[in-house]
């Protein structure tokens, strides 16, 4: 994928936080879903600790806190299909594409500026 031009669209949501530790990831995904429900073209970029949102095997928290993993499965239903992660970030946690719960495209960090340029609105979470 990294040799192709990255997606363009209405909204780029950048997810930088790991699951469970804070509500940033959940609230960022909610923003993406709502935008898609409004008919906008939405792209997700998982950056830094945010790549862990894609990891397979996430569970409900010990008090019953909902995992964001089921929300990821809903993305396709909302036609959110442009999912990118920063290759170096995933590698920094010792993970590979095989460890991900759904298909996402690895991009080198150098492609990120192009991704930002191609979207009208960018929200960081």
């Amino acid at each position: 994928m990294s040799s192709h031009a990255p997606a363009t669209g209405d909204l780029l949501v950048i997810l930088r936080h790991a699951p469970h530790g804070s509500s940033w990831l959940r609230e960022g995904l909610d923003a993406a879903l709502v935008a898609a429900a409004f008919g906008q073209s939405v792209t997700l970029l998982f950056q830094s600790d945010g790549v862990l949102a894609l990891a397979r095997g996430q569970q409900t928290g010990p008090l019953g806190q909902k995992s964001t993993a089921p929300t990821l499965d809903m993305l396709a239903m909302y036609d959110i299909e442009s999912l990118y992660f920063v290759e170096d970030a995933l590698a920094s946690f010792g993970l590979t594409q095989q460890d991900l719960q759904l298909p996402a495209s690895g991009i080198p960090a150098a492609v990120i500026p192009e991704l930002l340029a191609g979207h009208k609105l960018i929200l960081t979470f």
Partner: protein, 96 residues
């Protein structure tokens, strides 16, 4: 051209790396709030790659007593200048 706005200092947070990675060759970076610590001469090396496109908010330097320590490579702007930067950019992205 995008205006990136960063409110965390490189002395305690690594988000500046994500910010820099997301910047094109023409994008600008404005340091605000605790982010202005990155504008000090002793810290500004972290932002070498955006020299000439690096700004810091005067009011935030001033409140912290750090105006005198701000490096000469940093363009210091007041809040009106912050507004101008947002006018001149196509859009803004905040990093925290």
């Amino acid at each position: 051209m995008i205006l990136h706005i960063l409110n965390r200092p490189p002395s305690s947070s690594l988000v500046y790396r994500e910010t820099l990675a997301a910047m094109s060759d023409t994008d600008r970076l404005l340091l605000v709030e605790d982010g202005v610590l990155g504008a000090l001469t002793s810290q500004v090396r972290h932002f070498q790659q955006v020299e000439g496109r690096l700004f810091a908010l005067r009011e935030d330097l001033h409140a912290r007593g750090l105006e005198g320590q701000c490096d000469a490579v940093v363009q210091v702007v007041d809040v009106d200048g912050f507004v101008t930067l947002t006018e001149e950019a196509d859009k803004t992205v905040s990093w925290f």
